[in-house]
């Protein structure tokens, strides 16, 4: 069922329906449709009182997600749906399920963020923004402003995740176009280039102005470096700082088979949560963080042997998660719907591993890290699990879903996207 809503020049829909608030004023109109609602195909397990319901589905490669204060949900796609790459969803009748869907945007990508009356969204090379109407709809779906352009995307770690602070800045991840800065990427025995040339233009977080058009490297600031690849990041309003989840390095075992077993490869290089300040260096490619020794270990490409430490000037992570499980979403919870324990804590969506083979693959869940006074206050835990399907599906990596993006809605519910089938879950809490 497709409904085309015509909008008049004064911004008020010319057609009255229960969907009229979604009509975009001006010349741009969005074709509305009924969201696809797949039947549950996995069982999501969570602590008592929480439930996960399917909010929308069939979106394809649904990456990051952001929600306006009025409840419009925007999902960035890395593939096209109906020829478009941003999905707008709305639950008008308040039953916890989207009843209205529209698509717009021509650039595939990962990043999306609602901030100060704008919707920011990224391709793998550029960042755009759309002006939002007061109701949360997009005023110019066909003509976004280009904020940042010319960013490097060279096959590996291309997605540009974005977040904004409260001082008019936007932070953009530029992932390393390399695994470990070897002379020959991922080749057995190839040593690291020193100094690593990737760090000039990638492997870090760049800061740009949120309202200046057509910025590129020269206009921005390399805010933090030595970060191999960040997909999950969030601005923590409690600390007023940027937090990021780094994807640790791959293939210790296949590149240096004499130094590392396949099991060590599967387990050693942690996925790390960092708090960033301007000028920080997390140490890639010269070190990786060993979550068992709790040390910054010199990378074998730079003379390491699994024991020698390195990175004296590199910051330490706040949390070291298991290797390779691919943190793609980070969200600091500011709502009041969930129990007190969750307030200001961090949710992390793990996309799931591929580089643990022949060991079983892991991840495919949403984790939670409790925070107090801006620091982790306890051990991380698995919050929502089961997205992958059966234990066999998880172990083989042939999972049903792969969690990617996280967002908080105005009612304190959280949303989880999946970029395998494009399902969006809404997680709510009711005291048991």
């Amino acid at each position: 069922m497709i409904l085309l809503i015509a909008a008049s020049c004064n911004g008020k829909p010319s057609e009255t329906s229960n969907m009229d608030s979604a009509a975009a004023p001006g010349n741009d109109t969005l074709a509305m449709s009924k969201p696809e609602l797949p039947s549950p195909d996995v069982t999501i397990t969570m602590p008592a009182g929480f439930s996960a319901t399917i909010f929308a589905g069939g979106l394809g490669k649904a990456r990051h997600i952001s929600v306006t204060p009025s409840g419009y949900v925007y999902v960035k796609l890395a593939s096209k749906k109906n020829g478009k790459t941003i999905v707008q969803l709305k639950d008008n009748n308040g039953d916890g399920v989207a009843d209205q869907e529209a698509e717009f945007g021509d650039f595939e990508g990962t990043g999306i963020a609602v901030k100060n009356g704008y919707l920011y969204a990224s391709s793998d090379e550029e960042v755009f923004r759309y002006k939002l109407n007061s109701d949360g709809t997009v005023s110019n779906p066909k003509s976004p402003e280009k904020i940042v352009t010319g960013l490097i995307a060279r096959n590996e770690h291309e997605p540009k995740a974005i977040r904004l602070d409260n001082d008019g800045n936007i932070y953009v991840n530029i992932g390393a176009f390399s695994n470990s800065c070897q002379i020959e990427d991922r080749q057995t025995g190839s040593m690291g280039i020193k100094p690593c040339p990737v760090l000039d233009s990638a492997a870090g977080i760049w800061q740009f102005k949120a309202d200046k058009l057509n910025q590129t490297y020269g206009d921005g600031l390399r805010y933090a470096t030595g970060l191999r690849n960040v997909v999950g990041l969030d601005w923590n309003t409690a600390t007023n700082t940027l937090f990021v989840m780094q994807h640790g390095r791959d293939q210790l075992g296949s590149i240096f088979p004499k130094l590392y077993t396949t099991k060590q490869n599967a387990e050693l290089p942690a996925e790390c949560l960092y708090e960033l300040h301007k000028g920080d260096n997390a140490g890639w490619p010269y070190i990786y963080y060993d979550g068992f020794q709790n040390k910054k270990i010199l990378a074998p490409e730079y003379g390491g042997d699994g024991k020698k430490t390195g990175g004296n000037n590199a910051i330490n992570p706040l949390v070291a998660f298991p290797a390779h499980i691919a943190p793609d979403g980070l969200l600091f919870y500011t709502g009041s719907q969930f129990p007190e324990k969750y307030k200001n804590g961090a949710f992390v969506a793990f996309h799931g591993s591929w580089n643990r083979a022949p060991e079983p693959q892991e991840g495919f869940f949403v984790a939670f890290v409790p925070f107090k006074n801006g620091k982790p206050s306890g051990k991380w835990e698995i919050f929502a699990n089961g997205f992958g399907g059966t234990p066999d599906q998880v172990a083989s990596g042939r999972t049903v879903h792969r969690p990617c993006g996280l967002a908080e809605g105005p009612d304190g519910s959280i949303y989880v996207t999946d970029d395998s089938k494009g399902t969006v879950w809404k997680i709510t809490y009711k005291a048991p």
Partner: protein
């Protein structure tokens, strides 16, 4: 049925009485005569486990967006020359595979012998549901010589 089995047993014993060495010889024959293809597949599986499995996985299906599947793709079933070249030279251009681009680098493996490349490609072309012809060491040798030119 029973009488048939009896007849066979009798024949067997008669044969063994006539020439007891024959049985032993036949047993040895079975071990020694493992087919060249089977040996190539086994050797190829060992190479695969050491070098390929971490990215392409035990089931050959790779990992979406990152490492290509080796199951019934044109690159695997098609032109052997290109496939051999890909193993020797790697794929730093991230060339599309069956219309899909993959983000990770295929590292080069010039260190593998002609036999090892032939074996691993034979294993891949005849595993995971693939049913393509074997790759010979002589074919690898030819491609390696061409690449060097």
């Amino acid at each position: 049925m029973i009488s048939n089995q009896r007849q066979l047993l009798i024949l067997f014993f008669v044969g063994a009485l006539i020439n007891p060495a024959l049985l032993l010889a036949q047993a040895n024959h079975c071990v020694a005569q493992k087919s060249p293809l089977k040996m190539s597949m086994e050797a190829g599986q060992t190479v695969y486990a050491g070098l390929c499995l971490s990215c392409h996985h035990a089931d050959g299906a790779g990992s979406s967006n990152l490492n290509p599947s080796l199951i019934k793709t044109k690159g695997i079933l098609g032109n052997k020359r290109d496939l051999i070249e890909c193993v020797i030279k790697g794929n730093y251009q991230h060339t599309e595979t069956d219309g899909q681009k993959f983000q990770n680098t295929m590292p080069p493996h010039p260190e593998l012998t002609d036999d090892e490349i032939a074996n691993v490609l034979t294993y891949v072309r005849k595993s995971f549901g693939n049913k393509a012809s074997a790759v010979k060491a002589s074919e690898v040798k030819t491609v390696r010589a061409e690449i060097k030119m």
